[in-house]
Symmetry: C2
Subunit: 154 residues, 2 copies
């Protein structure tokens, strides 16, 4: 097995997972505390996707922590296949949710110019939640590529 930066059971790998947890939790937090989000399917979907991402990344953070403490090697083909599939599914869902929410926000801010007219839309908070979900996706995309590379190169 190659020693690639960000591999499971390494400090950088765990940092990536912790970053995913942090940004996903922050995205959910900002969205949930923004009035009126329930009226938009895209924003509800963002919360669901970020929730799934949070659970997945938190589980893998704990696994990385355990591996670091006990000096265990997590790079066996069965575990790696599970990580690859899980990372790919959650990364795709995160990007899809972030983009669909971004599509709605662009529609309101740019196409309909509704954010300046209707202050109750609280566009800025929605934008912050979407930016946080994109940051989550960047980190899960890195983890996903590292896992896929390690699995393919075994």
């Amino acid at each position: 097995m190659r020693k690639i930066i960000g591999r499971p059971g390494s400090a950088i790998g765990m940092s990536l997972r912790m970053g995913q947890c942090g940004f996903a939790a922050a995205s959910i937090g900002v969205m949930v505390f923004t009035r009126g989000f329930t009226g938009y399917s895209a924003f509800c979907n963002l919360i669901a996707s970020m929730g799934l991402q949070l659970l997945w990344s938190f589980g893998l953070t704990c696994l990385d922590f355990y591996a670091l403490r006990r000096k265990r090697d997590l790079q066996n083909p069965v575990l790696l296949s599970l990580f690859v599939v899980g990372d790919w599914v959650t990364a795709t869902l995160s990007l899809a949710a972030a983009c669909s929410s971004a599509g709605v926000i662009v529609l309101y801010t740019r196409d309909l110019d509704a954010c300046t007219v209707q202050s109750h839309l609280l566009c800025t908070k929605f934008q912050v939640a979407v930016v946080l979900s994109f940051l989550t996706w960047v980190l899960i995309a890195i983890s996903s590529h590292v896992m896929f590379w390690i699995l393919a190169s075994t």
Copy 2:
């Protein structure tokens, strides 16, 4: 180099590229001939992304055709790296554009229920264009993973 199904310079690889070209062209065609699409940034972005996808996939279809006719091997690390980067960028942009357009369509059809009220929105045509762009993404995602796997396993 491994002989993986869908590799560059193979009949299946070329079929995947042709499928990407076909679905991307069909998505652009349906969107362009739907009245009122210019008022939505997400739909304009979909056309731009599908246009880029069409150009990229058409170029690689020609390259695959050339390799098949002349029995050339396209699996060298430099070419593969180029394919991996190009496929990943176009796949991500295609998914992002498809999802942002889908977000706008879901907003109109489900959240605002505007499609039954305002017939001029021509929602069905927009939906068809988005479904075609998702099919393009499925095919480019397969090509992208095949390229990444071959590059990583060399």
